[in-house]
């Protein structure tokens, strides 16, 4: 059973460095499309992965795209130098990306983010313009509807 807000809260509690991107970032900006997972951009440093491991402790995180569904392990994953982690946990799917197509690496993504204040703590979220750029760069059918909504939100926010 998904509990995406708890997943985010755990990231905050363990001080994982991340920027929320993807569908849930679009939801935070106001897109009324349901999303089932969390996508974050994060620096794939050993320290940050250790924080992530603590945040996911007890949630049985596994690499969902490996046939054996290998357990998430900082020691093994850091050594393998993975750029992205596609994880499944007991409370939701979490995709951790080292870079975002159309934007760049974590520092650039962070530069183009805003902070959303929530009861679970402050969440850094990709800003509206960057989210539009990222969705455009992906050019996937599933993103087109979100893109239309995001552009509409941008239009409404832009002073006439």
């Amino acid at each position: 059973m998904e509990d995406l807000s708890q997943l985010l809260e755990r990231l905050n509690q363990e001080r994982v460095q991340y920027v929320l991107v993807g569908g849930l970032a679009a939801v935070v900006h106001g897109v009324p499309l349901v999303t089932r997972d969390i996508d974050i951009c994060m620096p794939m440093t050993e320290q940050n992965l250790i924080c992530l491991e603590k945040a996911l402790a007890g949630l049985n995180p596994v690499h969902r795209q490996t046939p054996q569904r290998l357990p998430f392990s900082v020691a093994a994953d850091f050594q393998r130098g993975l750029k992205n982690l596609y994880l499944h946990t007991d409370i939701g799917v979490l995709d951790c990306l080292g870079e975002i197509k159309g934007l760049g690496g974590y520092e650039e993504v962070r530069r183009r983010s805003v902070v959303a204040e929530m009861p679970i703590g402050s969440c850094r979220v990709l800003d509206l313009g960057a989210l539009i750029d990222a969705k455009r760069a992906l050019d996937r059918t599933q993103d087109k509807l979100a893109l239309i909504h995001l552009q509409e939100i941008q239009k409404k926010r832009t002073p006439q």
Binding site: M1, P32, T35, V114, E117, I148, I153
Partner: protein, 71 residues
């Protein structure tokens, strides 16, 4: 406890804007009333609405599986 990422940052904490109605909008392909409703909410409320909708989807999926299993 102070939060270092909040210092002098662009903060997204309130509803995005006061909805102005759907008249004159050019995006005929989407239901703008849903968008207007969503924009009245705070980011946190939007997150919670997503989880509620997701729970409903899951419930319907489980119901469908039970129905399929019966037929």
């Amino acid at each position: 406890m102070s939060d270092p990422i909040r210092d002098s940052e662009n903060i997204l904490s309130d509803a995005s804007f006061e909805p102005v109605g759907v008249d004159g909008s050019s995006s005929a392909d989407i239901d703008l009333s849903l968008l207007e409703d969503s924009l009245r909410l705070t980011p946190w409320q939007r997150l919670i609405e997503n989880e509620r909708a997701l729970a409903l989807v899951r419930m319907l999926e489980r119901a469908k599986i039970r129905e399929d299993g019966r037929s």
